[in-house]
Amino acid sequence: MGLLDTLLGRSKPVQPNLDQLFGLPSAAMTLEVNGTFRPTGYGAVCYRKAEGVAFSQVESDVEELLEGIDGPKVQVSKDKYGYTWVLCQRAQDDMTSLVNDVHAVNSALQDNGFGPYLLCTLVSFQDDRGRKLALIYLYKQGTFYPFAPLTEPQRDNTLELQIKAQLGNDLRLEKDLSRWFPVWGAPGM
């Protein structure tokens, strides 16, 4: 936000940065090579539902688009903070299609002027021992961070920091640790 906008108190809604998402397939590869974490095939987009019919229209268009021929399995749910999650499921090794599905949601919202309501995208992983991990993409920062939930409100910070060290070359990771907010109960975990 520029000086003038600050001075005049007219902050604008922030547009999402969508490009970095396409780094996910290579990150998934790195995780598999380095350790035991494998994709679960689940990915979810989280957005804030704006009021009014215009947004609802876009929402139903998105569902239709995704459920078209050869599409992923889609499930839409609302969390307790009022955010909507669109959960997509693909084959476990098909990270590229999953990213494309997620991107379809993004572009639909953005083309209709609702880009600022995209919150985050989550792609989940699991290892042999059943440990859970999600890579979460912050649309406005254009950065990723790992989220490894144990039982709420405990999270496996050691694992998260290990993952951070591993993925530095594949993804742009969020440096400000205070922005690594947990998403308890997110679908697809």
């Binding site: 005049l8 007219r10 922030v14 704006a50 009014g52 953005q110 002027g113 609702f114 880009g115 600022p116």
Partner: protein
């Protein structure tokens, strides 16, 4: 690249804000010119430095002063996980750093934001807002989005700078009254110094009064701006309007003496603790009337409903 947006800027609000800031600046220049003309060169820097120091301290410690005055305590994620979750999500939407979160133990439903910049911001809600006010989660979120917009707009900084003139004028008036800034009394054979002292006092008092009104007007415009930005952030202007209705309704029911302690910090509040209906009071108010704020929010709701986004 053209991005699509649902929101039209409010040019009227912007130009009114520019006008008020311009008038404050103009008044400051005129006042300082008068000081230079009537106050001897050796006392002038002292007055300016003291005023700057007072204001600098107020600004730098704004987070501590406000939270202390309100009896608020900072809470961590474990103490208020729900509140944290809401604020964190809003910050991620707005791409802002996470502010510190505080809770004030008072039954008046309200919230305020303070701190010298977004990295040192504190966002404070009262227990009344969280528990007693029957606000839904979306409404609480609307209130928090409004407060986060104050942080994004650096309203503490803007209002502090705007108030500098008032503090300076008030100090000069008092110093002229107690010590006389007009120069050496022993040389005062023709009453010139006494005359100058009177002029300084009058000019200062008038400057103080005008700048007070201008700062209050600016504060009201900043509230409109924060409402706007907050509604754009959550995409839910109606929830914010409902919150306003509930809070102002609740607040006028609470007895007056409870509110006296809250009064000095009204400028940073979500809704002022003192209700006012008369037009003189409207001129002095830190916040615009609730009906006008709701009117603006309804307009934003209509923009959100329109079928086509604007190219921006």
């Amino acid at each position: 690249m053209a991005t699509k947006t649902r929101f039209a800027p409010d040019r009227g609000l912007t130009s009114r804000m520019v006008l008020v800031m311009f008038l404050i600046g103009l008044l400051a220049v005129a006042f300082i010119a008068a000081l230079v003309a009537f106050v001897p060169a050796r006392s002038l820097p002292i007055v300016l430095i003291i005023a700057a120091l007072i204001l600098g301290a107020q600004f730098f410690f704004s987070d501590k002063i406000a939270t202390f005055a309100m009896g608020a305590r900072e809470v961590d994620r474990k103490q208020a996980p729900e509140l944290y979750a809401i604020v964190e999500r809003l910050c991620a939407l707005a791409n802002m750093p996470m502010p510190r979160v505080a809770i004030a133990d008072t039954p008046v439903p309200n919230a305020f934001a303070t701190g010298r910049n977004p990295n040192n911001a504190v966002i404070c809600v009262t227990t009344g807002l969280l528990r007693n006010s029957n606000l839904t989660e979306e409404e609480v979120e609307g209130v928090l989005a409004h407060e986060l917009s104050h942080v994004a707009h650096r309203d503490v900084l803007v209002i502090t700078i705007a108030s500098f003139l008032g503090i300076l004028a008030g100090m000069v008036a008092r110093m002229a009254f107690w010590f006389g800034l007009g120069g050496d009394r022993r040389d005062d054979r023709d009453g010139n110094a006494a005359m100058a002292q009177l002029v300084i006092m009058l000019v200062s008092v008038v400057t103080y009064a005008i700048s007070f009104l201008l700062v209050r007007a600016l504060s009201r415009y900043r509230e409109y701006a924060a409402d706007r930005a907050g509604a754009h952030l959550t995409g839910n202007p109606t929830a914010l309007a409902d919150a306003l209705r509930k809070i102002t309704g609740d607040m006028s029911k609470i007895p007056q003496q409870d509110l006296r302690a809250a009064e000095p910090y009204n400028a940073f509040y979500f809704a002022p603790a003192l209700a006012s209906k008369e037009s003189l009071m409207a001129l002095l108010a830190t916040h615009p009337p609730t009906e006008k704020r709701i009117e603006q929010l309804n307009k934003i709701a209509l923009e959100l409903n329109s079928n086509r986004p604007n190219l921006h």
